[in-house]
């Protein structure tokens, strides 16, 4: 079977539309991100407690909030998981989750059966969240620097820079979508963002590889045409390599459960947008760069 053959789309002619689309989503997302402030981050990065509680009787989030109001524990939020109204994620300020558990234990004192179980719990003190934040930043810096260096050695600086810009685009795009969909960034999302960085480069490399080959073959200086042809020639592999990976991530997103939710969502958005950015950001920017400051690619 062969679904994509001999395409001649003028991808790079449409690049301005793509620039507008990317900028619109990113700017809108960043405005929302700015307005949400600390709410953008999970307990790992701002400190705080998180409880995953399951009740044996049906109970509503509002009812739980009502109980928590009595406790005087400062900030808290209650989020129901699933439709049955049994399992909840309760987030609260650092060091307060024990108090919440003790409170519910107190409520059932004297009753013979347990009305709830604590399925999971995490508590991050502010000093720990600072080190986790630092670590995430170092990991980002190391990842991007590593990729930039490797690509500079294998291709040349302009290619490496274009690919790295595309990575930035993809990661900021994911962060924007996370903000727009009211999701939080935690350690697993950072891992997903880095994985997006690693994967998004794959598509870009496939296209650049073809561009490199075509420049060698044609000795042409009309880079816009060479780039466009290369994108078309590599199109079917760009799409299918992304697709096989997306199949898997789709299932992780829909079936992987709550713990993987934010992680697989970030991968889903990031890898889709990574494919788009290989064409419309990485390659397109190189063409525009060449237009502004002509350069002969060493291949």
């Amino acid at each position: 079977m062969e679904l994509i053959k001999n395409t001649h789309f003028d991808f790079l002619g449409k690049r301005k539309i793509a620039y507008v689309f990317s900028c619109a989503v990113i700017i809108w997302g960043m405005v929302v991100f700015g307005m949400r402030g600390k709410q953008n981050f999970g307990v790992d990065f701002i400190g705080g407690d998180m409880l995953n509680m399951e009740f044996s009787r049906g109970i509503s989030a509002a009812e739980i909030r009502g109980y928590l109001k009595n406790l005087n524990i400062g900030y808290y939020s209650v989020q129901a998981l699933g439709a049955e109204g049994r399992e909840f994620i309760i987030k609260s300020s650092p060091g307060t989750s024990r108090k919440i558990v003790e409170y519910f234990e107190g409520m059932e004192a004297g009753t013979p059966e347990k009305s709830f179980t604590v399925k999971g719990e995490s508590s991050v003190a502010p000093s720990m969240s600072i080190s986790l934040r630092k670590k995430a930043l170092y990991a980002f810096a190391a990842g991007i620097l590593g990729i930039l260096l490797y690509l500079t050695v294998r291709f040349e600086f302009r290619f490496a820079f274009g690919a790295t810009l595309a990575i930035f685009h993809d990661m900021i795009f994911v962060v924007a979508v996370l903000a727009l969909t009211k999701r939080q960034i935690d350690a697993s999302v950072i891992a997903a963002l880095l994985a997006v960085a690693g994967y998004s480069v794959n598509d870009t490399v496939v296209i650049f590889d073809r561009i490199r080959e075509n420049i060698r073959k044609t000795r042409s200086n009309d880079y816009a045409t060479v780039f466009n042809n290369s994108i078309n020639e590599a199109l079917s592999r760009t799409i299918f390599t992304a697709l096989t990976t997306l199949f898997v991530i789709f299932l992780l997103f829909f079936m992987g459960g709550e713990t993987l939710h934010a992680f697989s969502f970030s991968l889903l958005i990031g890898i889709s947008i990574g494919t788009y950015s290989s064409i419309f950001i990485a390659s397109a920017l190189l063409v525009d760069w060449h237009r502004l400051s002509p350069h002969k690619f060493k291949v």
């Binding site: 107190g106 999971g120 690693g198 096989t244 898997v248 459960g257």
Partner: protein
């Protein structure tokens, strides 16, 4: 000519056999992370020592030693207790049955003090107004109110200087007091027994408070001189609480203030759910990928699927051999490997199709396909490997597990998707005299 293929297949079979041997039985050979089997992960930060001159790093070592003793008493199968930097201690207790108890045991300073109580009622009321006399302090006991919240009650004016501390404890065990409530029995060391005898002798009819980590546990009145070096701590303990207290008192107090700056508890149910959901998603994802490859690339797709299975097998084999920890994001990493493992084959197969269109013979199309796709494969695998290694070395817990499976998967991919498939294709081409390739 043929001999070359025998060597290749021998190598492939040997790798398969070695992997199966190391993996089997998987429940035993592959270590699961906290998120998959439940357990406790804690990071402690050691504060300054109380009045002692010693470096923070030494202090952390001593804290670590005490915690190790306590955890040994708890009987966890594979605990990890290690220092991180100067003042942080990481404690990992996979599969622990009662996480609350474990946290209690790790986190308690367990500084036990016997201190005299002032029986002057006027001084106590003055102190409650804010006039605490020198050499004394106000301490409370903690009790649960009817709503189950701990409250500080029963203020007592207590001497700052302890008469005796937990240092002199030789043994501690749970018992029951005369009315049948759990208590903790202490056996004091020889030296401690003598001190205790002196105190009780010279303070008959005064109250001696037993204070644990700044909270009054009980404050019995001394009736008579107590010899024999034995004491009891009573104070409305549950059986569990008394048992826990006995363990920490036996292991000794922490030599410094310790703050629990990170605590992660995963209950066994959540661990089981994570495993089932994670694996189900990964397996269904893999099935779709496998089906797609066969539909889209026919026999070559089947070959890629074989390479994919081999890739996962090597991945698990290396995990088992290296004693790597499989986490939920690690399962996601395996799933992602399934999606990415076939990428290399897609690059090769697409290239072969292209070469065939230029009119080359099947053999040279295939050779050119593999050769020309190689640079894109190695570049894309290495960039992903860079990220995988960073996540493995810089990440913690679940994220580390993701970096691990991702990295192993990518490296194994070069072997399975390129070397293995090429060997099979070449062998088929040589033995079957293929004239036309359908791909």
């Amino acid at each position: 000519m043929m001999r070359q293929y025998y060597y290749r297949f021998l190598l492939i079979l040997a790798v398969i056999a070695a992997c199966i041997y190391t993996i089997y039985p998987p429940e035993k050979k592959i270590r699961r992370g906290l998120d998959l089997q439940g357990g406790v992960h804690v990071v402690l930060e050691v504060g300054e020592a109380a009045g002692e001159e010693s470096s923070l790093s030494d202090l952390s070592d001593r804290v670590l030693e005490v915690i190790r003793n306590r955890i040994d008493a708890l009987g966890v199968t594979e605990p990890i207790i290690q220092k991180q930097g100067m003042r942080r201690i990481i404690v990992d207790l996979p599969g622990v049955q009662d996480p609350d108890k474990a946290i209690d045991i790790i986190g308690q300073t367990a500084l036990l003090e016997f201190r005299l109580v002032s029986d002057d009622q006027e001084m106590l009321s003055a102190a409650l107004q804010g006039n605490v006399p020198e050499g004394y302090q106000l301490l409370y006991s903690r009790e649960k109110d009817d709503r189950g919240i701990y409250r500080e009650t029963n203020p007592l004016l207590i001497k700052v200087e302890p008469e005796l501390t937990g240092k002199y404890i030789a043994d501690a065990y749970m018992g029951y007091d005369s009315s049948g409530f759990p208590d903790v029995n202490l056996v004091l060391s020889k030296e401690g027994g003598a001190v205790f005898e002196n105190i009780t002798a010279s303070n008959v009819n005064r109250r001696l408070a037993i204070i644990l980590d700044g909270v009054v546990k009980s404050a019995p009145t001394i009736r008579e001189r107590i010899g024999g070096g034995k004491a009891q701590i009573t104070g409305r303990f549950s059986v569990e609480e008394a048992r826990t207290l006995a363990i920490v008192l036996r292991a000794g107090a922490l030599p410094a203030k310790v703050e629990m700056i990170y605590r992660e508890v995963v209950g066994p149910t959540l661990g089981r759910e994570n495993i089932t959901q994670g694996f189900r998603a990964a397996i269904y994802g893999a099935i779709i990928v496998v089906a797609f490859m066969v539909i889209y690339y026919a026999a070559f797709g089947l070959l890629a699927d074989f390479a994919l299975a081999f890739n996962i097998l090597i991945l698990l084999g290396v995990m088992a051999t290296a004693r790597g920890v499989l986490t939920l994001p690690g399962i996601a990493g395996i799933a992602l490997t399934c999606g990415m493992a076939v990428d290399a084959n897609i690059l090769i197969f697409e290239r072969i199709r292209e070469e065939i269109k230029t009119g080359k013979s099947p053999k040279s199309s295939i050779d050119a396909g593999y050769k020309r796709a190689w640079s894109a494969i190695i570049d894309s695998n290495i960039t992903t490997l860079i990220v995988g290694l960073i996540l493995f070395f810089m990440g913690e817990g679940p994220v580390k597990g993701f970096g691990l499976t991702l990295s192993i998967g990518i490296v194994a991919n070069l072997f399975t998707a390129v070397f293995v498939t090429k060997s099979v294709v070449d062998w088929v081409m040589v033995t079957q005299k293929v004239e036309k390739v359908r791909i």
